[in-house]
Symmetry: C2
Subunit: 366 residues, 2 copies
Amino acid sequence: MRSDVRGPVLIVGTGLLGTSLGLALREHDVEVGLENRSPSSLHLARDLGAGVPAPAGFRPALVVVATPPDVIVPHVVAALRAYPDAVVTDVASVKGGLASEVASEAGGQVARYVGSHPMAGRERSGAAAADSDLFQGRTWVICPHGAAASDAVAAVRRLAITVGSLPVVMDPRDHDAAVAAVSHLPQLVASLTATRLADLPAEALALAGQGVRDVTRIAASDPMMWSAIFAANAAAVLPHARALLGSLSEVVDALEAAASEGPGAAGVMKAFAGVVEAGRRGVARIPGKHGGVARRYAEVTVFVPDKPGELGRLFAEIGDAGINIEDLRLEHAAGAKLGVATLSVLPARAGELSAHLEELGWRVMA
Amino acid sequence: MRSDVRGPVLIVGTGLLGTSLGLALREHDVEVGLENRSPSSLHLARDLGAGVPAPAGFRPALVVVATPPDVIVPHVVAALRAYPDAVVTDVASVKGGLASEVASEAGGQVARYVGSHPMAGRERSGAAAADSDLFQGRTWVICPHGAAASDAVAAVRRLAITVGSLPVVMDPRDHDAAVAAVSHLPQLVASLTATRLADLPAEALALAGQGVRDVTRIAASDPMMWSAIFAANAAAVLPHARALLGSLSEVVDALEAAASEGPGAAGVMKAFAGVVEAGRRGVARIPGKHGGVARRYAEVTVFVPDKPGELGRLFAEIGDAGINIEDLRLEHAAGAKLGVATLSVLPARAGELSAHLEELGWRVMA
């Protein structure tokens, strides 16, 4: 188990991430000490099995700061000073300024600090929502600054691997620029779009289909957490938000022309088509399921009666055929007693899957 | 079969919707005549089994105009004149101005015209993508104008029911206002957000998670179709687009303050929290799966090894327990060999489902 993290590990902050991390490390028999300003939160994490309150004289090899973002720097600095041999990391979702803030207080000790960002979370927060599997299969971004020691980077990488994550090393500024575009801007847009639904009559909302549900799903998120993220990564989100504002302003102009002069108004159709075309180019760049170059899957659409066991029968019969489902969506019209399952499979298997399912009596859309 | 449509039915326009409708009606042995300006498109629809080219002297009881939006009115008017006993409908996704345009040319004959909007479609277009099941389980909005005859409305309702859709009657202007907010604005926003991904480095796109995938999924749509929809419904989309522009402009101001003065700048956190809060209120209004009042499902998260048959085994074992899956999502980190399935079930069944799956050896997130 050379890839296992070297303990003991001190976890500072026992919210969702800290407690989940403790649980995951304890499953690997890593010694875990816990710290939290609130004794009740600390005891909850202990009772859940995430570790023990760090005893006097505790000597961690690795410290993970999992506090709210506004107090990360002082905790990182305190840990570097208190444990002069330990590697220190944090799990904040914005990384850019942290290393220089730490360096300005801790000097050369910053070499032992390597920020990171496990891309894991859930809609509930706090220790009570913790789970040892939270990091399984998730990307864990490691963001070494210029003065970071390579063995410190390696220690954080082992931590990520131990709890089932995929470590990815990125420059902190590149990380912040990336999450601004692939996470923070979409979050903002989902909230702003969902806001437009708030005052609609119920009969209008009854027409909501899968499109608006997908666009607004992540709008059901925690306002406090997201306010802190938008504020911390404002500089990286700003160019995207400004560009979006500019494009939206052009769309409003085109809508005004179309509304007053009709669809034949000069440039209107070209403006709208340009917006949709540009979006197509952007969405095509999102990588396929296994990372790397985007891979196009073929979609097979199957109708599923809305009763217990039907989805089970469907997937069992797909499994019997030895075909892997790469992705799936399940849709329902409001009031319908029939679901529409869209299965993504390797293009070479799509015909075979359709034939197999039709033979077994499923209604398959050609 | 009193709810079955009364034929013969004439379908004008044999694209995706027209051909699919013909196929669905032929399954119910309804006599279907087809019309299309292009003989090759007409013959393809015929060869697929959607009906026969309307013979001389064809006397339809119902005419469905499924042409591109810019030629719907002349086709509706021509049908009202050619078949003085027939009910005439169309399937365009914007309804507001059609009835008055028809009335200005067809006078009192407009009583036999009732516009409608089957909320069905797919990413491919044309007769070759047609399927008799396209309308199954979908909402079909019927939009009678003030002078519409009630038996004409009933005829369109029977058409919707015959092909497996759920008919919903709405005022044309209410329909257009509704789809502006629940369909057209989300489509616009998805395109604008996806556009921001176009120039990102590949390593940034590798961090794309389920959130941005959901927000931008519908951006992969047809530019010509959507340009026509935005232009036709510009007046209804405009107030939403303007309101979004105003909110986004405030967000940009807050981001600028945070970027230059830091997260502590006056009003910044409040502005961000307000945006997320407003979005939460909006998304909470989207009805649950079966329409009506939104119903909260409990979510059970299960880890699924990425190999053939595992999803099948999972759903078979859920089916054995007699528990219905109301909704599901499947997620993967880029490069991960493990999927995360989030199952929505009635809250009363969630504990039972978790226990059942854990007993069978599945890793379930608490």
